[in-house]
Amino acid sequence: MKEKLQAIREKAIEKIKSCDNLDKLNEIRVAYLGKKGELTEVLKGMKDVAAEERPKVGAMVNDTRTAIEEKLEEIKNNLANAAREAKLKKEVIDVTLPAKRNIVGHSHPNTVALEEVERIFVGMGYEVVEGPEVEYDYYNFEALNIPANHPAKDEQDTFYINSNIVLRTQTSSTQVHEMEKGRIPIRMIAPGRVFRSDEVDATHSPSFHQVEGLVIDKNITFSDLKGTLAVFAKELFGEQTKVKFRPHHFPFTEPSAEMDVSCFKCGGKGCRFCKDSGWIEILGCGMVHPHVLEMSGIDPEEYTGFAFGIGLERIALLKYEIDDMRLLYENDIRFLNQF
């Protein structure tokens, strides 16, 4: 009996070892361990075995079964692994083939620039608001200290709808709306479209965008204006950016200034970009004129403030090195797709 079992075991294991596919392996399993398998047949012969021998023989049969099962499992695993390996080998792809990308649209460069500006000022606690583009003369001029017949009115080449209504020439008009609400402190920026009757060319457009800034509170100083705009310039153009304030004149601020930033192309050494000066003019700013505060119902003895105006296209053209302003309003996708 023992010999018989040993023979079955060796033969079975031999067959299993030489098996090279899962179907055949299954056939082998059935041939030995199935209902009519060789080992089952041996068990059926147990009745002929002497009673005292049975436990011993039973244990031997079980050992044999376990040995065969283990081998079957081992080879099955080997075969499955080999099959997976083969499959993976077959599935090799050329990873350098072109990607399949979702077609995603692009923001207009003005918007890209505006979002940068908004991010900086929102982070400093400014609210982003808007005002009307078709505006009363009062808000665009008079309330900003530009009365009728003021030369500054001519300087700005205004589009008129009638004697009382204009296309706003500056987002500064939004300052007045904001101040009239009577909520102080004010920290706001107002982006928007403005209009001036300039013929279209590489550096002019009759319609462009500004971002106005206004801060009104107690104890606001010119040094606060400098500090705020220095932070802005560093955030927008990089940590190493230097700023320079030059005296200037705007009717609605006093003192007034223009701010230059160190050229972000050459770092201030001088290049074609900054016309060899090392500086690029970025914005106009100043302390809100007390008469402007008075006209909007704010007591200039109690409150002071500063205001600034940034040309959005100017930032976009400079930052993205766009050499012709007309590109901004043509909407050629080959242009837009670059932002």
Binding site: G105, V134, P151, I161, N219, F245, H249, N331
Partner: protein, 805 residues
């Protein structure tokens, strides 16, 4: 405004700085220098030479060989200049030197190097120069010949620096003067700023008394009728005029300022206008009827011939200078043809007046004639300056021997402005600036600006030329300018903190941008104004409200003359640009305003309605666009209740492929395929799909609040139905019927098949929906679902639908 450094230095003699230092320092105190030009930048080794002997060139008819004395020696120069003569003194560029350009007036950056060489075989050791080769022109050196060498005249010193003699060792600065600094539109004003900037003395020379024993008041009378428009009128007289060229030093200074020398009288007028910023006018005294000047308003429709020979039609707002009979000048703008100085002038009347700036500005605009004089007057001049200027002019008349100045001055100056007095408030200046400047320093700055401090009442006396200094903040700026903007500290605002945020409208717009871009649309921007012809291109009928557009009074031409009432024209124009440039599969969106007037003509501000518009051609169809629209509505929390109504029939859209977008019964936009005729009008040879969402309504109702509703625990039951209906019945109508009767238990209703063909009969279509039911709290029974299905089918039957077996 351009000035030569030498002229500034005549008032600030100690000024000693490079052109770059001057530029930087002046800019930082507020007199912005835009640029400068060194007149001798490209000139090198140029001396006065004298031609001693001229011989013919043996091999060239047009060339001559000159022996030229250059002071220390004699050299040989070959020239082709036609005007060379023996004894001529002319600029000579020596071997190794440089000239600025060619004799045709062309400039060579960096100059042209002159070297010894042979000209047609004859040695030539340098070049004799024309004025053009020295970088200038006959405009500024009127004595130069039309072509040929510049003749320096017999007084020039042979061997001396010719550039010096020509006054070209100078720098010309160009300034940007701000409109508040009227005083700086003059050499004196800029010189005063330069003195303050560099802390040097400002030396204003005393004007010598002028005039003979006669008195001009006996010879002419002045009557200012329009006193509101003429604050001051000064007049002086010059007899026995001897017209001649002005001296070289005056010509050079005028040339540097960009003014062409003409003759001594004209040049003096221009010179004083530059120096003092005060325009003056000279009348031929003998043409002044009654020897009487009347300053009055013009009559309406009065026609006047200005000295440029043009007839000008005037109105009663304009100020005229008249004599006893007729008008002789358009005040502050231009004199008259009838009184202008001619070569035969014997006696002239000088006028230096102070007219109302705003009036001059408006008048100049009305007559379309902006002159150097009106440009100065319109800024509002200092009446005290008129007297100084006219006396300076008379001083120059005597100095140049241009005539005999008559004694005295006619002066009509009824209301003398009082000296402005402001309190000296150092603490307030410092508080506004965030600085800690000492009072002493402030007073030093003020002193340089001729602002006097009166200690007894702690006040500042503002000079009359500083019309811009009116209140505390103006004085703070003066402190800031001379303390240095760069030295003011850098701080951040303190005080109550505020929350930074976008307005809700801008937040909704940013969602619109996100959705559009995610769906492949790029952002476009178009002008707010367009041509009224756009309506014709868009097939908009004559009586349409869309044509009620706001007109711009002074547009940049017809193409930019109305404010847009629809956004489609801009979108189609941009798509057409892309189509024309062969860009494929273009998708654009825009977020911009249209301008809807409440009434025309405009009496109040129009309704500015932000439109979110999408346009595309190439891949995709109506339903692609519809998908984008629905994506947007979902993202702003407005999904679920949109319906589409195809009945409006917009003329610019395909009649069978358009729909209004209805939300909660309100029309919030539309979409559709653009009418093929419209596409043709824009030269787009492809189908274009367009959607327009009216944002004000969306902003009002958008909601970004989200609530978790739980994940359904109970299973769904699905029922598919197939129906046959008339072809005209809209799927949307059927869906609405199903949703209405499906109630809360209907989770979704999806169209999965639509078929037209023989099997369902002509004029019919077969439609199949998959309905999914689910309850939150239980598994639905067949009976429950059966009841709902019955109700749905009953509702669909009302639409004429028949269940397919």
């Amino acid at each position: 405004m351009n000035t030569a450094l030498s002229w500034i230095k005549s008032f600030v003699p100690d000024l000693d700085c490079t052109a770059q230092e001057y530029t930087d320092a002046m800019t930082l105190t507020g007199t912005k220098v835009e640029g400068f030009e060194r007149l001798d930048e490209d000139l090198d080794k140029i001396v006065v030479g004298q031609v001693k002997k001229i011989d013919k060139h043996p091999d060239a008819d047009k060339l001559v060989i000159c022996q030229v004395d250059i002071g220390d020696r004699q050299i040989q120069i070959v020239t082709g200049a036609p005007n060379v003569y023996e004894g001529m003194k002319t600029p000579v560029c020596l071997d190794g030197g440089r000239v600025a350009g060619g004799h045709d007036g062309s400039r060579t950056p960096g100059g042209i190097k002159i070297k010894k060489g042979k000209l047609r075989g004859i040695d030539s050791e340098g070049m004799m120069c024309s004025i053009e080769e020295l970088g200038s022109s006959r405009d500024y050196y009127p004595d130069a010949p039309e072509s040929g060498l510049y003749d320096m005249g017999k007084d020039a010193v042979v061997g001396s620096d010719a550039i010096e003699a020509l006054g070209l060792h100078d720098v010309v600065f160009e300034y940007e003067i701000t409109s508040n600094r009227v005083d700086c539109y003059s050499i004196i004003g800029i010189a005063r700023e330069a003195a303050a900037t560099f802390r040097k003395d400002f030396v204003l020379p005393d004007i010598k008394p002028t005039g003979n024993d006669e008195n001009v008041n006996d010879m002419v009378s002045v009557d200012v009728e329009a006193g509101d428009l003429c604050k001051r009128y000064c007049a002086r007289m010059v007899k026995n005029i001897k017209l001649a060229p002005s001296p070289e030093w005056m010509q050079r200074r005028l040339a540097a300022s960009g003014i062409r020398p003409i003759n001594n009288i004209v040049d003096i007028t221009n010179y004083v206008m530059e120096e003092y910023g005060q325009p003056m006018h000279a009348y031929d005294y003998d043409t002044i009827a009654g020897h009487k000047i009347v300053v009055r308003r013009a009559a309406d429709k009065e026609v006047f011939c200005t000295l440029d020979g043009q007839d000008r039609t005037l109105d009663s707002s304009m100020l005229m200078i008249c004599d006893g009979e007729k008008a002789i000048g358009l005040a502050g703008i231009m004199g008259g043809e009838n009184s202008k100085i001619t070569d035969d002038v014997k006696t002239m009347l000088f006028e230096a007046a102070c007219f109302d700036g705003a009036n001059i500005r408006v008048s100049a605009k009305k007559v379309g004639l902006r002159t150097d004089a009106s440009g100065k007057f319109e800024k509002g001049l200092d009446p005290y300056n008129a007297e100084a200027a006219i006396n300076r002019a008379c001083e120059l008349i005597e100095e140049l021997g241009a005539g005999e100045v008559v004694g005295g001055m006619v002066d009509v100056f009824p209301v003398k402005p009082e000296e402005k007095v402001l309190p000296f408030e150092p603490d307030k200046y410092n508080k506004l600036l965030g600085t800690d400047v000492s009072s002493d320093d402030m007073l030093k700055y003020f002193g340089k600006l001729e602002i006097r401090y009166n200690e007894s009442d702690n006040t500042l006396r503002i000079p009359s030329f500083r019309q811009d200094l009116l209140r505390t903040c103006d004085m703070a700026e003066e402190v800031a300018r001379f303390y240095g903007y760069d030295k003011i500290p850098v701080t951040l605002p303190s005080g109550e903190s505020t929350s930074g945020k976008l307005s809700f409208k801008l937040r909704v717009e940013s969602v619109a941008r996100e959705v559009a871009q995610f769906c492949g649309f790029s952002q476009s921007m178009n002008y707010s104004f367009e041509s009224p012809k756009a309506f014709d291109k868009l097939l908009v009928p004559e009586n349409s409200d869309l044509r009620q557009a706001i007109r711009i009074l002074n547009p940049l031409g017809q193409d930019f003359s109305i404010m847009k009432t629809q956004a489609l024209n801009g979108m189609l124009t941009s798509l057409a640009t892309n189509y024309n440039r062969k860009n494929k599969n273009v998708r654009l969106y825009e977020i911009g305003n249209i301008y809807i007037p409440k009434a025309l003509p405009l009496t109040e501000l129009p309704d500015e309605r932000t439109q979110f518009t999408l346009g595309m051609y190439g891949d995709g169809d109506f339903f692609t666009m519809k998908g984008v629209v629905e994506e947007f509505f979902e993202k702003v929390g407005l999904d679920g209740r949109i319906t589409y109504d195809p009945e409006d029939k917009k003329p610019f859209l395909h009649p069978g492929r358009q729909a209004d977008i209805i939300y909660d019964g309100v029309k919030v936009g539309y979409l559709g395929e653009v009418h093929p005729q419209v596409c043709e009008n824009y030269n787009i040879g492809d189908r274009v799909y367009y959607a327009d969402i009216d944002m004000p309504y969306i902003v009002e109702h958008a909601c970004f609040d989200k609530k978790y509703e739980g994940i359904a625990k109970f299973p769904t039951s699905t029922r598919d139905i197939s129906l046959v209906v008339d072809k005209q019945v809209l799927i949307g109508t059927m869906e609405n019927a199903i949703i209405k009767k499906g109630g809360k238990l209907l989770e979704s209703c999806e169209l999965f098949d639509i078929y037209e063909g023989e099997q369902v009969g002509a004029g019919k279509k077969s439609v199949a929906f998959s309905l999914v039911f689910r309850a939150k709290d239980r598994t639905l029974s067949d009976t429950e679902i059966g009841e709902i299905m019955d109700k749905i089918l009953a509702e669909l039957t009302k639409l004429g639908a028949v269940l397919r077996q």
